[in-house]
Symmetry: C2
Subunit: 364 residues, 2 copies
């Protein structure tokens, strides 16, 4: 059997080895069900327990307040781009404010414009998406339907230090690439959503944490699968949910709670890991050039460029030969990117930092 | 480790043991990727190969003609209920014909009515959904946007012997519970869709086979994730697809092609399996009463009732103790149901038929 390598993929991304081993040991029979978790009814007691444990672990980790639902949906953040606009912008006659901080925010805006009027409250594109806006850079619309933001831009490698203040207007946040990377005050949000395949599990399930207040705004004639109200009323089982993906999300959440020790502990680890790489970049005398402004550097995706594309390709290729996988930057921006989500062990980041220093010694 | 039992669940449902064993052996490392299939990038060569193999196997099995796309989407058939209507009924000013043959057809109609005008071309509800309509029972609308049908009704246990003739109007078929249970002439359809979790894999992926003609009708301003045109143009990777579920669907399709021998072979097996149970019902002198009319009996879901609910509950409980799982009928209709999809081995059905005879001897 081939060995496991350090996987810096931006998503789907590395998962805790203990989780993968649990998945393996639950095949071909899950507990006393007589079948694998891929095969049991979503109406069975065993699956109800899987769903409940996943939700409980997320509620505990994030300290989700009363008055919020935790949902497991399908279609990734891209489906949320449409669902948010279909439910909370279309036919309201209102404006939705969007904070445009990178590629994913821009995609969300594109979908929302199909539903209604969008105001770009901050546009990071002229600045090449290198920094997250300060509060005084936001031009918010009084009485907006909602404010949409992206807490971490995977492609550019920038992250909000903390959420913007939107007053009485509900804040809706795409947190796909930094969900549960650190403590978050859920009460400041109307909705937080995250495709699981970066920080929380495999592709195929999207976690939505949403206030009952926002759910109450869902139009009654909405398509059932696109209605947060229907999904909430049915506890994410209006139809067959993505059962296996939810099961893995539950394992990851329990690993985060029980093995790592919660969100303060993972924040400390994520700060240590990312600092190792940023120190390597900063200490390289310009051999490595970080993309993000210092105050906007991401804990999750470290992005940088080098003198030319040939040198970048050489590092990517040689690192891969050394077992450091998937360091190529997103095809839309080039350069390099190390995605170091919750499940990337410190050892992987240490190995990468050492490798970068060695590469500079031999190629600098 | 607990043993695997015979699992008659209506979905998620039993999968071939060889597939489950392959999944297990591909953990924690898939091929030479250095990671599991849960963790590799959907843009990697390894995943591109997974996707291509799954599509190729489906194309070969169904003999999909040129001019059709095979897509892997999310959200189950229930999302297709909305997507079909959003793309092909809304804002057309046309009528869509729906053939109402059971619970799932009725759900599809409910969603379509949110988009536009629906004509029920046949209503099986007054007849308690016991039979599929003959061609002369259909009241089709000339020039309809499309005709929607359900090839197999999981809850009632009825199945079309062959597809209705809709002339020039595109036929759109929910085949979630009988996809690839027998050969199908794809050229007669504009679209066939199927949630995977009954006959093809785990929950979390929906297979769509759609003609280029129908794709050309998708409105340009459609939300990207709800646009068949966008999904087709991007080869099911507009955003991160449900990678693991697609991988398992590929394994199931390859099992069907290479181990079973294709759709003629699986039809013969499915006819033999279902006949065993229908013969048991018919030979019981009324102890077991089949729900479906004889000409509409399903190869996939065998439904029956008994003299009273107590006796039914007793059979379900005692069968479960004997390792024959999940025989309870759907909560909306009661009675009993044995779902015997492609992956249910003949031995499972033989064991159930024997058990039913024994139960009648001891309780009849």
């Amino acid at each position: 059997m081939s060995e496991r390598l350090f996987n810096f993929s931006a998503g789907p991304a590395t998962l805790p080895l203990s989780v993968i081993e649990q998945v393996k040991s639950d095949l071909p029979v899950f507990g006393d069900t007589g079948a694998s978790v891929l095969e049991i009814s979503h109406r069975s007691a065993a699956f109800a327990n899987v769903l409940e444990e996943a939700e409980d672990a997320i509620r505990t980790l994030l300290a989700v307040p009363d008055g919020y639902k935790v949902l497991f949906l399908q279609g990734g953040a891209s489906t949320q781009f449409a669902m948010v606009a279909m439910n909370f912008l279309a036919n309201t006659g209102k404006t939705a404010d969007y904070i445009k901080v990178g590629t994913w925010a821009a995609k969300a805006i594109k979908e929302a414009k199909r539903a209604g009027h969008v105001h770009v409250a901050f546009d990071g594109e002229p600045g090449a998406y290198t920094h997250m806006p300060r509060q005084d850079e936001l031009q918010l619309t009084p009485g907006a339907a909602y404010v949409h933001t992206t807490s971490n831009e995977t492609i550019q490698g920038i992250q909000f230090a903390s959420e913007p203040d939107t007053g009485d207007v509900p804040l809706i946040c795409d947190s796909s690439s930094d969900f549960m990377c650190r403590p978050t005050d859920v009460s400041k949000y109307g909705m937080i959503y995250a495709g699981a395949q970066k920080n929380m599990g495999p592709a195929g399930v999207t976690i939505v944490v949403m206030s009952d207040e926002l759910i109450a705004r869902v139009p009654a004639d909405q398509y059932s699968m696109m209605s947060y109200a229907v999904q909430a009323a049915k506890g994410s089982t209006f139809n067959t949910p993505p059962a296996f993906s939810i099961y893995v999300v539950g394992l990851v959440a329990k690993w985060l709670r029980d093995s790592v020790g919660g969100l303060e502990a993972i924040r400390a680890l994520n700060e240590r890991k990312s600092q190792l790489l940023y120190d390597t970049i900063d200490g390289s005398g310009g051999f490595y050039k970080g993309h993000a402004a210092r105050d906007s550097r991401s804990l999750m995706n470290v992005t940088w460029t080098m003198a030319n594309a040939e040198l970048e390709a050489q590092l990517i290729k040689e690192a891969s030969d050394e077992g450091l996988m998937s360091l190529k930057g997103h095809r839309s921006v080039g350069g390099l990117r190390a995605s170091i989500y919750n499940a990337m062990p410190l050892e992987g980041v240490q190995a990468l930092a050492e490798y970068m220093k060695e590469f500079q010694r031999t190629h600098g």
